[in-house]
Symmetry: C2
Subunit: 142 residues, 2 copies
Amino acid sequence: MKTYSISEVAEYFDMTPHTLRYYDKEGLMPFIERTSSGKRVFKESDMEALKVIECLKSSGMPIKEIKHFIEWCSEGDSTLQQRYDMFLERKASVEAQMEELKKTMEVIEHKCLYYKTALDSGTEDVPLIRNGLSKYSKGGAD
Amino acid sequence: MKTYSISEVAEYFDMTPHTLRYYDKEGLMPFIERTSSGKRVFKESDMEALKVIECLKSSGMPIKEIKHFIEWCSEGDSTLQQRYDMFLERKASVEAQMEELKKTMEVIEHKCLYYKTALDSGTEDVPLIRNGLSKYSKGGAD
DNA sequence: TCTTGACTTAGAGTTAACTTTAAGTAATAA
DNA sequence: TTATTACTTAAAGTTAACTCTAAGTCAAGA
């Protein structure tokens, strides 16, 4: 069976071996086996588990909560409902983040247009477009 | 002209007066005026500027960089290009974050389906669907 | 055999963005 | 007049997620 060293795994997931050890210490990887000399040996299934951990991380889940999920996993079928509920929550959270980013994007695109116009005319002080605003808020009112 | 106290502004932006003072201290609000007794007085234009600051924050921009933008604003037309470039960069960053969230969402939705199926059959151990994976990575392989 | 590089551990340090504390001032309500 | 509330400042503390340091082990190549 193909196995991976900590640095191979780190490279694959674009992190440092330090970070992987930190995750292990925080209880995210209780399933990693060791060599007789104590080195971590990563199996294919460990890589799959890490992908799920990465997914939960990029959904904004804190490491301590990911740890709870990992614990549920090792408790078996009795925690299926918790795990399902957790992923439903994650889904709602990611949807909310997407919604917020969308609103942010609208403001930013408006600003891009504003500055493009200002650059074309060489100045922000374009009374025909907008006036009465301070230097700081120009372009933020409509 | 309508003005606002620090706690009114805090309530409007769903933060504490503490946080607003912190932003001020970090140089994000050099335009806020004070009463003779030293209290901050927020004008309508300050509210607009704060909306832009909030937008930059939710795009993931660190406070120190937002401060640079605020400095550029007070330097006038000579910094128009920098500010335009900055918003183009923000746009690209938000687009990348949206892309990442989309990928995360796909994994999460897959997991929701996986756990729904598992709950229906009362167990994760469904050889017809998937086998050969550890307790930790089940549902993460396809 | 010696050196090099990758690994191990425990624990301290870093960074961002708050968040709280301490000590005090000013205006307003009872 | 006294108490309350909102405000002020400077500075220390908190939290998450690393990130680094120190001290040491182990296997492979010159």
